[in-house]
Symmetry: C2
Subunit: 410 residues, 2 copies
């Protein structure tokens, strides 16, 4: 087990942020790419967020104020600069940045960067150590590559919508923008894998992710049921298991909302029977094995409902959890935002944001033991880091910088 | 830009799989950890899947046959061995494996590995270059760390269920097991980040992810609406935008199912008006700006529905896509499984599986340009790689191996 420090990294210290010293050029917008670069920033990278003069979509779109917090959630600890990538001088500045960068991230539609003359081949010629990471709806090489793609569209195309909802109700999308975020975190994954490989080969590479591919496996239970039952498989199972292979597994009504229970094993089910005061049913052949409970899932659900209906969701969850039964209240977003577990871990933090006031912002879900969390720096206004990057990092004079600003290049 | 090859990696070749030469000990089960190690295997790592003699949960649970395909989806290209980790000899074999490994992955409840004497501190003492990656529902250091956690429970606790469904219907879980898979792909991310850092520090580290943290940001739109509108924010928006900030954005009925349309910009909306034969409405003040359409979203939805209702979902999608409008049919899983785009990209493949017959299996969503896809090797039966690993890799004699098998250590 020899330590293999390369000369340029001789100063690396155990306990230091894992991406310290890594520079990222972030051309991405809305959720997908920005989530990837958010995780890079919180892992210690220097992220330069390059936006058009109108701001990236999420910053500029009004959405009746609803886009403001999402923008703040995903853009902490980044350095925003403006750059007109359609101008020759703007492209020249981007190329200078690329020479100093380790990673470039974009989630434009396929072909946009090539049409600007800034495609991965061109940029990796300038800097062969660059990792060029892109994400799109359908990927850049399949027959659907030019279809426009957004989270709702991808939820429809990937089968998420048709698999969500009650069997007797129309299909409904997942409230979470899972296709966007699955793509973003897979993009982060591909880039980190390539960054590791670069340490061994000395060369960067182009990596690519599609929202469609990134979502597929999350429907594994449902594909399993389709494979096992064929046309007898229901399209949607409400709050029941996606493969209808577990019982109890459902949401149950309480006095003030719902609770969910998911108890695959006999041990869990016996604990439930003790909690609800029906221990005599432990020997009932309709209930005393996993297979029997799955066959008689309606009986199981009625049994639980009869008991949950007269209690509050937190009372039910407390009693079940004390008995070791996987159970939880169906919480609303205000409850989640104030979750004591996440605040204790530091993955949620109250922050005084200069534009939004006191808000809850996420820190990274990636925890590196012994590495302290990087302090959250609230997202900055459009172009706030222009001078720091153009003058400080690229070495333009103050006069040149002023001229570039005046010409709306920067 | 100098090439910084370290001595032990001098043989690394551009175009080679990025994780070739990396060895992974996989103690994980069901979806979360196995998805992370599936991506490692497909990126070229050697993944040794360690299971108890009963098989990991997903392999052993019947689920009326519904668990068979999910197991096959996530366990391609892995080497399964059996090991009794409660026996001293079984622990000793695991320690020998750890000495040869780069990465260990587990998603037991917090504390399980420590109670076996195989916690991250103990294992990293044996091999300081080891990356020890773990994933759990709530993380290992917060007040909820001992709560049992599964996907349904985490969807309830994280606000996904309460945010999913039609406003006038009860809340419903997402059909996709997003909490499990978000955790799995974040775990992969954390491990790759640490693997990169190891190249610079020479030391491994312990990384950790929770399902709860990994899901939070995917509800960004919904948090945005709550922040902007406070108690006036609806808990669920059906198929409308989670922030109610975009229109048209909905699922619309057709003759044979639904289509979705998501068109934030004026350009898209004008294209829709041309497609549906109502170009005169381009000047209508109720419709001619993004803000106006959001205010009059019911009018917008009626306008589209009137036109979609008399057509099939594929007819509607074809016409909209030709006009550049983000639109898609709500597809069922059979349609998705046969998606021509994913099959063309190789991210879905037809495979003759020895146990399941001809099935569709996913390849990795992580694409490394210039690196050919590793051929998919179907998942193997329990313990299929016992001899290869115990004799071939660890150097036990055939006689010792037979004895270990006889004693049910292996």
């Amino acid at each position: 087990m020899t330590t293999t420090l390369s000369p340029s990294d001789a100063g690396a210290v155990v306990g230091e942020a894992p991406l310290s010293g890594v520079t990222v050029i972030d051309l991405s917008h809305v959720y997908n790419g920005p989530y990837a670069t958010f995780l890079m920033a919180l892992a210690g990278a220097e992220v330069i967020k390059v936006e058009p003069h109108t701001g990236e979509h999420l910053r500029s779109r009004g959405d009746m104020g609803g886009a403001a917090l999402p923008f703040a959630m995903l853009n902490s600890n980044k350095k925003p600069i403006t750059l007109d990538l359609k101008s020759e001088q703007g492209k020249e500045i981007l190329r200078k940045l690329v020479k100093k960068a380790d990673i470039l991230v974009e989630n434009f539609a396929p072909g946009v960067m090539e049409r600007l003359g800034l495609g991965s081949a061109a940029l990796r010629q300038i800097n062969p150590r660059l990792i060029y990471g892109s994400s799109s709806g359908y990927g850049k090489d399949g027959p659907y590559r030019n279809y426009p793609a957004m989270d709702l569209v991808m939820q429809a195309m990937s089968g998420v919508i048709n698999s969500t909802g009650h069997p007797d109700h129309p299909p409904v999308k997942s409230g979470a923008a899972l296709c966007d975020f699955f793509a973003g975190i897979h993009l982060y994954s591909a880039i980190m894998t390539a960054l590791f490989a670069r340490e061994r080969t000395g060369r960067g590479q182009t990596v690519e992710v599609s929202m469609q591919d990134a979502t597929y496996c999350s429907l594994a239970s449902n594909y399993g049921m389709l494979n096992a039952r064929g046309d007898a498989a229901p399209e949607r199972t409400g709050n029941r298991h996606g493969g209808l292979g577990v019982s109890p597994y459902n949401a149950y009504p309480t006095k003030d909302g719902y609770v969910v229970v998911n108890s695959p094993g006999d041990r869990h089910f016996n604990a439930i029977l003790d909690v609800i005061g029906r221990p005599e049913l432990k020997e009932d052949p309709r209930l005393n094995s996993r297979g029997a409970r799955v066959q008689n899932f309606q009986l199981v659900d009625e049994l639980l409902e009869t008991w949950t209906r007269d209690r509050t969701k937190n009372e039910v969850a407390d009693q079940m959890l004390k008995a070791g039964v996987p159970c939880a209240p169906v919480r609303n977003l205000r409850e989640v935002m104030n979750d004591e577990n996440m605040h204790a871990r530091g993955s949620l933090q109250w922050v005084d944001h200069p534009e939004l006031g006191r808000v809850v912002l996420p820190h990274t879900p990636l925890n590196f033991e012994g590495v302290p969390r990087r302090p959250l720096e609230p997202s900055l206004p459009l172009g706030a880091s222009n001078e720091e990057v153009i003058v400080g990092m690229l070495g333009y004079s103050k006069e040149e910088f002023d001229r570039l600003v005046q010409q709306k290049i920067v």
